[in-house]
Amino acid sequence: MGSKQSSRRRFLKGGAALAGLAIGGIPRAIAQVPRVEKADAPPGDSRAYGHRSRFDTSKRLDDTHAPHGMTTPIQDTTGIITPNGLHFVMDHDHMERPDIDPKQHRLLIHGQVDRPLSFTLEELKTLPSVSKIYFIECNGNSQPPRGPGKDSVQDVHGRISCSEWTGVPLALLLREAGLKAGATWLVAEGADAKRYAMGIPLTKGMEDVLVAYGQNGEPVRPEQGYPLRLIIPGFEGNISIKWLRRIKVVDQLYVPRHQATNAELMPNGKALWFNFQIGAKSVITRPSGGQKLPGPGFYEITGLAWSGGGAVHRVEVSTDGGKSWKDAELQQPVLPMAWTRFRSPWTWNGQEAVLQSRCTDERGEVQPTLAQLREVWGINSDFYFQDHFNGIQPWKVTPDGVVHNALLLS
């Protein structure tokens, strides 16, 4: 069932004109060479697959909001890439993670298309691919936490990670299938037991969505959707379908259950649809909640900024509770819909200080204050579970050097 045979079938069906398009194209799928298993590298052997130092204990933590979620220690990760073993996890609507044999896995594209297609992983990998650095953020990230001990940047903001994703542009696959007139939306579905599904606007699908098989130089991790994950840059993470197995092209918005129940309720009782894009956002990761400064002196303030609407244009840092702001240095590369690392030098005089950062993206969207968000959202009991919370995060350093979450909730 190699691609050779199937493409011959399609060749016969499609006729000479189609074959003309294929001439000089991409080489055929590489024949499968039997792998030589070496006995000297048992699973778990760090010579075969390296481990980090035993002194490095940074780890994901159970998400207090979500029993099946795990947060990324963004206070510990350096640069803009999240190590694969620390990528946050938020599994929707299934109790058991699927254990998928990549040889058996198929991606089906059907619906409003001229040619419904089924791809094996190997076939996908022979198509032109791209590697892009994108963040994935849960729509529930950064909801102001309640209760004691929910102070750390990991607890509050750890439902985000950033990786280099490698895959085939979805637009290419949709063009291969041939979009019919009238196609406007997509439904993407996973191979998990409950077939988690979400709707995606076709315009986005044709723009920058990836069908990813690679994550930071290796296959996508099982908890991120091995062997295939849809990566939808800048949009809330819950539509970047894991264990991707089916894309249906449709002529209207289909509303899978999670899309209906996720719709954000406004104080007037109406709910927002198409609430996909992540706003301009930033957070200082060091110093941050729960950390302790050993004493007065020099510290580099550093953190992460991102926007679902493009590249970060500017990050300002305040060390006096927002009275004055100073431009932070942006670490290159500064990429659209990816984390941008920022840095700002600071000398702590030992007095109480409130540290915060403010992001402006390339469209000029400025990260709002809590007060501004309140005005928009109104204050109802649901407020503190508001999705897409991107308010400015203040951290208060008290004279003992301890850093506290200073987002005022009353």
């Binding site: 069932m1 691609s3 199937s6 079938r9 399609r10 069906k13 499609g14 189609l18 003309g20 398009l21 294929a22 194209g25 991409i26 979500a66 029993p67 099946h68 929707h92 609507d93 089906l108 594209i109 040619r115 297609l117 089924s118 791809f119 076939e123 696959l173 063009r175 291969e176 041939g178 019919k180 196609a183 439904v187 076709l202 986005k204 089916r246 249906k248 449709v250 918005l253 289909y254 509303v255 899978p256 259950r257 209906a260 129940t261 719709a263 309720l265 109406k270 709910a271 927002l272 609430n275 706003g279 609407g309 469209r363 969207e365 709002p368 501004q372 928009v376 109802n380 009991s381 579970f385």
Partner: protein
């Protein structure tokens, strides 16, 4: 004009027209000849997406009366006798136990909104789609088509949306008017991708 030239000409014309109108669909032939044509059988076996108009709904039917029995056996342990209860156990990750399936109409603009199938979901077909796809928890995909129609009818009846004897099938279900059908609004109609967004609206 030979077939190929004609094809080529049409393609360019199409691309041009589409570029001018800004339409998303671009009709063209496959460039890479990769992947296998999926058979109709294969698609039927996998395609469980039901749209708002219910055109994919399979033949079959059920009423709330039938659904009540199945519900008592297969659902009530987790969702309560009437569907309006909240299960005490932490069964799932999303905020713990599932919320009530029944009730909540009129609460959405209050300080304690209760989002349920009845008070919040815009289309009755979503209920059918989700019950077949995801329920019962831990044993998804085990219900027959008629059971799914009956359970859908039962939950709609419990929510006061249909009558007990109403038969739900591929024809009647999409016609059911959900109370919150008009409760969903796009963030700002004038907003387009790439534009700066009004504060707080995240399309």
């Amino acid at each position: 004009m030979g077939w190929f030239t004609m094809h080529y000409y049409c393609r360019n014309l199409l691309v041009l027209t589409l570029a001018l109108t800004g339409a998303a669909a671009v009709a063209q032939g496959p460039a890479y000849q990769r992947g296998r044509n999926a058979t109709e059988e294969e698609i039927r076996a996998w395609d469980i997406s039901i749209g708002p108009d219910g055109k994919e709904l399979p033949p079959g039917s059920g009423t709330a009366t039938e659904g009540a029995q199945i519900y008592a056996q297969k659902c009530a342990a987790c969702h309560g006798k009437t569907g309006a209860e909240i299960h005490p156990a932490k069964l799932t990750h999303m905020g713990g136990a599932p919320g009530p399936l029944v009730g909540g109409v009129g609460t959405l603009s209050s300080s304690k909104p209760v989002k349920t199938v009845g008070s919040f979901w815009p289309y009755a077909t979503i209920l059918w789609d989700y019950i077949r796809r995801g329920m019962p928890e831990f044993r998804p995909g085990t219900l027959t088509v008629n059971e799914v129609y009956a359970l859908t009818a039962f939950l709609l009846f419990q929510n006061g949306i249909i009558k007990e004897k109403d038969v739900m099938d591929a024809n009647s279900l999409p016609k059911v008017q959900m109370p919150n059908r008009d409760g969903f609004v796009p963030p700002k109609p004038e907003w387009k991708p790439g534009m700066k967004r009004p504060l707080g609206y995240y399309p």
